[in-house]
Symmetry: C4
Amino acid sequence: MLSRMFRTHGAIGLGLLVPLLSWGVALARSQPEPAADSDGQRIEDLVVACHICANEGVMDSFGHLSVRSAKNPERFFMSRALAPAQVTVADIMEFDMAGNPVDPQGRRANGERFIHSEIYKARPDVQAVIHSHSPVVMPFGIAGVSLKPVTAQAGFLPLDTPLFEIREAWGTAEERGMLVRDSTLAKALAQKLGKAPVVLMRGHGHCVVADSIRRATIRAVYVEMNARVLQSALQLSKNVTYLDEKEIAYNATENFDLERPWDNLKRRLPEASKR
Amino acid sequence: MLSRMFRTHGAIGLGLLVPLLSWGVALARSQPEPAADSDGQRIEDLVVACHICANEGVMDSFGHLSVRSAKNPERFFMSRALAPAQVTVADIMEFDMAGNPVDPQGRRANGERFIHSEIYKARPDVQAVIHSHSPVVMPFGIAGVSLKPVTAQAGFLPLDTPLFEIREAWGTAEERGMLVRDSTLAKALAQKLGKAPVVLMRGHGHCVVADSIRRATIRAVYVEMNARVLQSALQLSKNVTYLDEKEIAYNATENFDLERPWDNLKRRLPEASKR
Amino acid sequence: MLSRMFRTHGAIGLGLLVPLLSWGVALARSQPEPAADSDGQRIEDLVVACHICANEGVMDSFGHLSVRSAKNPERFFMSRALAPAQVTVADIMEFDMAGNPVDPQGRRANGERFIHSEIYKARPDVQAVIHSHSPVVMPFGIAGVSLKPVTAQAGFLPLDTPLFEIREAWGTAEERGMLVRDSTLAKALAQKLGKAPVVLMRGHGHCVVADSIRRATIRAVYVEMNARVLQSALQLSKNVTYLDEKEIAYNATENFDLERPWDNLKRRLPEASKR
Amino acid sequence: MLSRMFRTHGAIGLGLLVPLLSWGVALARSQPEPAADSDGQRIEDLVVACHICANEGVMDSFGHLSVRSAKNPERFFMSRALAPAQVTVADIMEFDMAGNPVDPQGRRANGERFIHSEIYKARPDVQAVIHSHSPVVMPFGIAGVSLKPVTAQAGFLPLDTPLFEIREAWGTAEERGMLVRDSTLAKALAQKLGKAPVVLMRGHGHCVVADSIRRATIRAVYVEMNARVLQSALQLSKNVTYLDEKEIAYNATENFDLERPWDNLKRRLPEASKR
């Protein structure tokens, strides 16, 4: 059903697409909602998450978000190579655990899709992965300064956030670059992530994972906020008070209300993204 | 009358709410204004204050604002658990001094509502409380650097702004977190606030209080401004000139024109918030 | 003619004002433009300058701009006490060199209007005065760090920008505050300004002067930019290269194209301000 | 054909221009696209690049962008003296390698057009030049701190970005300024640029060059991002990890997808710029 929808959209021009999508929205209103955690719902959330991350400055023209399939945990959904702000349902592709698109239909996949497949393989608990080049998080990896939690809202962070140095993964290779463009590099990244919710990538960006695309989105937003606050605090004094073990343990027990920031960040989207 | 309005709005869907509110506005124009300091006026101001604080970056998806009842000083009004930018009159609930909602009608209250009830109990002069997670104020508490007044517009600040360390309130508890989720913690916070207009909360945010919701809003905006300016000044030199006792004493005697910034900040609201 | 226009506008409600102004605009299009440097043109520019300074972050809800009368150099024009973003032609009042409004018509004047009158008295070359509370300029006065020119666009700044410390003006007074609310304090400020284009006011803001309201506006915008750039440069290194005497002397000889930034900043105004 | 279009547009008022341009857009849709790398396409891209650079904060009211002619490599196109945000096709002028406008039609050329002509002469590989006064890049030249690449997206930067000190070009001249207003100064700037993609200009701004106007635009945006990230990193620690030789070499071999950010940045333009 989904792949049929993609094929149809792939065949028509962009001019036709917008009215069709509007019609889809109108239809959705008069029809039953997608099941609470169906792939349809996950893909719908993924598109909103792309727009939120772009709107909140988590994403620039690059970076990508994915969600695992609810039906088949060996599959995940991610947009074709496209700026997150521009992603629509028609741009979502399905991938297997080798990072291969199941039915590309001529659409170009992100070169760094292996980040997602390797994390899904290593972490069965993870349902969503966000890879960002956030300019407020990146300085920490570059300066070798720990991105520790200093704000209650980022209490999901561990005492220390792991940092991936791609030079270690490349070892003594004659040639080496910055992008995580194959499974070997991605496996090293997933290993560095370990059981953490976030891994920094020196000079490149970071990844955020969670048990839903909504939670990953909210986490990505609060990783930014924590980075901003920590940057300012460290400029005021080197004697900063971080959250301690007890505070982090307690945070894990709190029933954090995801829907509140999700609804608010959705509301903040420009009109064009809400259609 | 008010609680009846809530009940009606609670029973109808969101789709109906917006036209009804517009109709309310149209009606308000042809009818007499609410009395200068009635509960109706305070609630109307509270909703505008929510939108202003969100629009000026004082509030993110969390944080909350309240106003004491003009009719019954043992009661106060605050929105249900909802991002401040999204609050409408229909979301305002009434609370007693134990922090219990008087007539919840199934609406979920903010977990940290005790911050408000305990401050109202401790400070009969306070008519409004704003609790924010502002990312420009938070670094001061985290870095243990005093948020002192450096700008004439924040001359309402004392020589030193008190800082609440929740670890002290928890003492040697086995488990402890960051949120002020019961009366005991909130009482300790109110005690730290003392007679000040602002209290910082380490790693969490801060509270601003005043004798009206309008003044609390303007204060919240200028606490942000003072924090921004002080952060920059301290990055230029450690030898900063703070306002001194005389300047603060004089500031207290000046008839600060509240309506000017209030009108301007209201004007800056996005169109959707003005309806 | 002008004062008659004010009287008429003063007598009608705000609801009537907007259509009248639109009509005024329509009329202006079919009628001859105001003379190149008439008071009508100066007032029109003053209103645009208010909106630009608000839109570019030079002004918050306070701060004020004025222009000297072309017809009578012993008079100047400034809005009533109102946020600059909200100023319309109907809000402009006329003042004499004692800082008294010529025909207030019940409108409240800015408490700090003496800043303007004293500068106009001390500096016959000055045709416009802007007083701002800019949060990016203020840190320099507070930190006691010189706001020196580091960018070609701010080459109008002298080797050192004077800093006004209001405590010196108050001397050993029992009571003293931060605001420049009378002629005595304002005279001390004008004296500190001397022949400079800008004077910083510790913990309060700064003033920019020029030979036209357009030039004062562009200067105000580039004082901000210079402050931002210098703040960042000083955070990178204490070994900063400032413009030197020759570069400043040369800058004074260049025919800086005012219309280019003026037009662009006007274009950037929100639609509502352009009517 | 192009110069005729300019003449026509030059002769008509701005009121007529907008509908004509809209009509041009409508026409363009029903007509064949301009050839892939024709001068028509380059000029169209140049106008979009002007708007993108303004919208992304690379450009203020000054600064300018140019593209070499595809037909005649001894010519280049650049707007008349106008803020980049306001540039339309009708504002584009043609210049020769001496920096002289071929057919000015009364339009005023940028005083610093020699920057462009001298770079085109010295660098046959360069097809586009962007000169900006970016306030986030400028601090590096002023502080004498190297703008080195720290982010994968700015991996096109060399190990060190050259810095132009105009005082060296002026030597012992009696008078000297900051602007590059003749061929002699511009030649010295082009020499400092050498084979690099970027040259910083102390206290003035910087230039970005590339083999297309699209690539120059994307580079300009990522030079900003790299400057922002490096500024923050250096505030966290002096022990920063820069991209190394291998990473830069590898970056040069990667087929960086230009269309993705170009499309996204185009989408971000305000509606008025898209007509």
